[in-house]
């Protein structure tokens, strides 16, 4: 089961650039939430704050409060503990090229020292099934390298890898932007399936995608969150003029 996320007064910087300014929002549990906005508006920075990936860059910092359920992720836990509970899928598929498909999916468990063969096998199968990749790879799980798959398959494997550690939240930073339409629609179906069990936050440049998969949508512009509402409201009757300009294609 997923968990809701409460963001209060989040500010983030890269060096002297103030990339996120006073973000406040509630991301409900077991729903998909889409973040849209032009390039460089801060959506990626925002999701990277949710699993404390932002701070891996030495010049980056963030202030504010992010609560996952009752847990203040910047106060009550280390980044490592947070990232075990918040999975992430990146814009470009990043399979581990020296590992087989099996080891790629099991890597999160293995590096945390999990050794039970039977549960590992079951987890790899479950995760690959959740990621709709099982049928395509089940015969050469251990024979083929994760990097030998096609781009769309690689991305689904990366989703399986993130799901294998059974996270409560799944962050997806433009997960389909490097993929062809068929792979994209597979990933969208997947998000649709997964959101009953996980809290999903998806960054996307594709507004149809946001409309198809997400219940709620936030619009970011120049480091600020302009509007956050139900996806239906955002796309049919936005409160803010800038949101309307963006979704009607006037800029961005």
């Amino acid at each position: 089961m997923g968990v809701g996320i409460q963001v209060e007064n989040l500010n983030a910087w890269y060096g002297t650039t103030h990339t996120l300014q006073d973000i406040n929002l509630h991301i409900p549990a077991n729903h998909a939430t889409a973040l849209i906005g032009p390039s460089g508006c801060g959506k990626s920075t925002f999701v990277r704050c949710l699993n404390r990936m932002h701070e891996t860059n030495p010049i980056a910092r963030a202030t504010g409060v992010i609560k996952m359920g009752d847990l203040d992720i910047y106060k009550d836990a280390s980044p490592v503990e947070i990232r075990r509970r918040v999975g992430m899928v990146f814009q470009r598929p990043n399979p581990f090229p020296t590992m087989s498909i099996y080891d790629n999916v099991a890597s999160g468990l293995k590096l945390n020292g999990f050794r039970n063969r039977r549960i590992l096998d079951e987890t790899v199968e479950r995760s690959l099934k959740q990621a709709a990749l099982w049928e395509e790879v089940k015969d050469d799980l251990k024979k083929k390298s994760g990097a030998s798959l096609s781009g769309g398959q690689q991305q689904r494997m990366c989703i399986a890898r993130a799901l294998a550690v059974d996270p409560e939240v799944l962050l997806m930073d433009e997960p389909a932007s490097a993929l062809d339409p068929v792979s994209t629609s597979k990933i969208e179906d997947l998000i649709f399936q997964l959101k009953s069990q996980y809290t999903i936050v998806i960054v996307t440049h594709n507004m149809q995608q946001a409309a198809r998969v997400a219940e709620n949508t936030g619009f970011f512009l120049n480091g600020k969150m302009v509007e956050f509402d139900s996806t239906h409201k955002i796309f049919t009757n936005p409160r803010d003029k800038r949101t309307e300009d963006y979704i009607t294609g006037r800029f961005g």
Binding site: M53, E81, F96, G249, R250
Partner: protein, 351 residues
């Protein structure tokens, strides 16, 4: 921030339905003059000749490597004919080295070379990996350049200078501090027995380790720097600690390159002459103790070449050269085999 169009600053278009096409309303001015770029490009040839000659030149460069290796091999064999005839291939298994009575064998030198080189690797590899990991993953940015510069400087010091330093600094330390310490703590292994004069196999190995350290560490650092950040982030996002990230995301991805770096270091250690000759003791005997003086293939050639007055002696020294040549080839072949066995089925490197 990327250069985004500000809202309303350009494209003053009305709300578009998806089927309308931008640009159809404003035809761009079409010039009737012939385009100079097209004209220029159309005059250029097919490039077939250039490409072919380029390929041939490159092929010659590549083949020259084979030619040089074969030539060296041929010369070594033809010049060591006397010794080859006198001792046959048994030369490589004999321990005798007596120029006076004309009795020669390469075994003590082969053992000395392999022993010092592998001891040097044993000491240098962990240290070099540590340096490389620190430089690429942990080092504050301001320290990175000075430390890299210093490691590379270490590689530029001529080996005779290392030799001098070893004679005046390392040998006394070995004799008075390190040696007795090893004898006391590790004496039970039998590897640290006998008299300790400060010169010997262990001292030579230590100086070799220092000499190959910068080669291995700077190559390893370059390889690790080339690992894309997406690999590091991928591992971190799974909840890895910094060490787990380095192990899974960095070291694992660069393992083939690291083996290559180690091989280059080993190559240098196998062939290193000057510094080793100055501190190894130059005594052609296979000893169990690491304190004992030894001899390597390279140092016996350097040391005795000017003294080799009769033809058989000279021929035997050239055959020592042949032995060094073969040892290098065999060691490299074994290393390649090991890499192949470990990485079978896995792709070579990060895309």
């Amino acid at each position: 921030m990327t250069t985004e169009r500000e809202p309303g600053s350009s494209m003053p278009l009305p709300s578009l339905a998806p089927t309308e096409f931008v640009g159809s309303s404003e035809p761009t001015v079409v010039s009737t003059e012939p385009s100079p770029i097209r004209e220029f490009l159309s005059k250029r040839g097919s490039g077939r000749l250039a490409d072919t000659s380029f390929a041939v030149v490159m092929l010659v460069c590549a083949l020259s490597i084979f030619a040089i290796v074969l030539f060296i091999f041929f010369i070594l064999i033809s010049r060591s004919k006397l010794s080859l005839i006198a001792f046959g291939w048994k030369f490589f298994m004999r321990s005798a080295w007596d120029p006076v009575s004309g009795d020669f064998g390469a075994l003590p030198f082969i053992v000395g070379t392999l022993e010092t080189s592998f001891l040097a690797l044993l000491m240098a590899v962990p240290l070099a990996l540590g340096v490389a990991v620190f430089l690429t993953e942990l080092c504050p940015r301001s320290l990175r350049a000075p430390i890299s510069f210093l490691t590379e400087l270490l590689a530029a010091i001529p080996s005779v200078v290392y030799g001098l330093w070893a004679v005046f600094v390392l040998v006394p330390i070995m004799r008075e501090h390190l040696g007795p310490f090893f004898a006391k703590t590790l004496g039970w292994t039998g590897l640290f027995g006998g008299a300790n004069f400060g010169v010997g196999l262990l001292t030579a190995s230590i100086i070799l380790a220092i000499m190959i350290l910068p080669v291995i560490s700077s190559l390893t650092r370059d390889i690790m720097t080339a690992v894309p950040n997406s690999q590091r982030e991928g591992v971190l996002a799974l909840g890895a600690t910094r060490w787990e990230m380095i192990r899974t995301g960095v070291l694992r991805n660069s393992r083939i390159g690291i083996v290559g770096a180690i091989m280059l270091g080993l190559g240098r250690a196998l062939g290193e002459t000057m510094a080793v000759t100055m501190v190894i003791g130059n005594h052609a005997e296979i000893a169990k103790s690491l304190f004992a003086p030894g001899y390597t293939l390279a140092s016996v050639i350097a040391n005795e070449f000017s003294e080799a007055t009769d033809n058989l002696y000279l021929s035997a020294l050239i055959e020592i050269g042949l032995a060094l040549f073969l040892v290098t080839i065999v060691v490299n072949a074994i290393a390649r085999l090991m890499v192949w066995a470990v990485t079978r089925g896995a792709p070579a490197r990060v895309a």
